[in-house]
């Protein structure tokens, strides 16, 4: 029998009546949950609300948890984002274009960059902004998969659990998402910037 993970211990503690343990789980995963929401929705406030609702939903349904906590939670988060996107499609109220006023406040631009070179800092900021906008231009199912794979670093198996799709579908969506992103990146000439940044990093 494998040793229980820290998540399992915390889940058990919550189910046994220790509510504080759930907040430990929240602290472990709030960045990931919010990150997925933010990149899916492109709006900081909406992302925070959706992530919060997802945690409440996770707490409500915790007794029905089977398997690992992380993919289960991320599935709830992804479904919550999908519901919001569908609702926005029916009643469009949030623009998918990045609001220039929000750009200064958006957490995506708070770059953890130790390099003091201001030019490089600007280049990185511009690159991240371009990627964020490009992500919002691809279909929702492909966006989910590429965020989970390339930004959250999840395996195909985990992504399959989160999205409720089989591995073949995950691979196919990832393939299409990357192809579309490659087109956009080529269009906006992002690759030369990336090459320059990589070259700057090399000693």
């Amino acid at each position: 029998m494998t040793a229980p993970s820290e998540d399992q211990i915390l889940v058990t503690a919550v189910l046994a009546g220790d509510s504080d343990s759930f907040n430990q789980l929240v602290e472990r995963y709030q960045n990931r949950a919010y990150g997925l929401c933010f990149r899916m929705l492109g709006d900081s406030d909406a992302a925070a609300d959706v992530a919060q609702d997802a945690f409440i939903s996770a707490y409500r349904h915790l007794p029905s948890l089977r398997g690992e906590f992380r993919p289960w939670l991320m599935r709830i988060v992804a479904n919550a984002c999908r519901d919001v996107l569908r609702s926005n499609k029916r009643h469009p109220s949030v623009s998918l274009d990045t609001n220039p006023r929000d750009e200064d406040e958006a957490p995506a631009l708070q770059i953890a960059d130790s390099n003091p070179n201001p030019e490089e800092h600007l280049m990185r900021a511009e690159m991240h902004r371009t990627i964020s906008v490009a992500l919002l231009q691809i279909p929702q199912d492909q966006r989910t998969v590429v965020i989970l794979s390339d930004i959250e670093g999840m395996s195909y198996d985990e992504i399959a659990v989160v999205t409720g799709a089989n591995i073949g579908t995950v691979k196919s969506r990832l393939n299409r998402a990357r192809a579309r992103l490659r087109e956009i990146f080529t269009e906006v000439e992002l690759f030369p910037t990336v090459r320059r940044l990589i070259a700057n990093q090399e000693p």
Binding site: T12, A13, S19, F22, Y34, A48, L62, P63, Q110, S149
Partner: protein, 188 residues
């Protein structure tokens, strides 16, 4: 890029994602040395990954912790099942309830009142039974006790439901309790 087949593209993607078995990965790397198009596509994919991985982690603008009130409100019926008030006594209480149901309904106690035989005294005035007792009325004096056999009624499902609910309640609560104990044993 256009010369690369879809299956090769999928393989390259799996290689870039470290999802390809070692043998297949080695075979693909060998192919890349002789097929420049494959190597170019792979380097482009690797760059795509680098670009995406370079995205900074985002932090929520506020803490997502739940307060006690929110937790109380969020508790659904499953929560009530898994941690009911006095949960440790649930299997015992369910068993007692089941036994009570069996004793009350399974043994026939309390069915006398709903028997099909009705004893009436001077009941010839009862309009509903007038037809049924028509014959008796003619042959017996009004002051005498009249026995009317009521038409056969459908058997009540209440005892069955009672026993079923008792059994399901007992088994359900015992299951949750055993599951919790199992998890607790595993953790400790």
């Amino acid at each position: 890029m256009s010369t690369i087949s879809q299956s090769d593209m999928t393989l390259l993607q799996a290689l870039a994602d470290n999802e390809l078995p070692a043998a297949q990965a080695n075979a693909l790397r060998n192919r890349m040395t002789s097929e420049p198009a494959l190597a170019d596509a792979f380097s482009e994919l690797a760059m795509m990954r680098t670009v995406m991985e370079s995205m900074p982690a985002v932090r929520p603008p506020r803490s997502m912790r739940l307060d006690r009130q929110t937790m109380q409100q969020a508790r659904g019926w499953r929560w009530w099942l898994i941690s009911p008030p006095g949960g440790q006594f649930m299997p015992a209480m369910g068993l007692v309830a089941c036994l009570c149901m069996v004793l009350l309904f399974g043994t026939g106690y309390g069915q006398e009142n709903s028997a099909d035989v009705i004893h009436l005294k001077g009941s010839v005035e009862a309009p509903l039974l007038a037809d049924a007792a028509g014959t008796a009325e003619q042959s017996a004096p009004a002051s005498q006790e009249v026995t009317v056999i009521a038409p056969q009624s459908e058997p009540s499902l209440l005892p069955l439901w009672g026993v079923t609910a008792g059994v399901v309640g007992t088994l359900g609560s015992a299951r949750w309790w055993m599951r919790l104990r199992k998890i607790q044993r595993r953790v400790s």
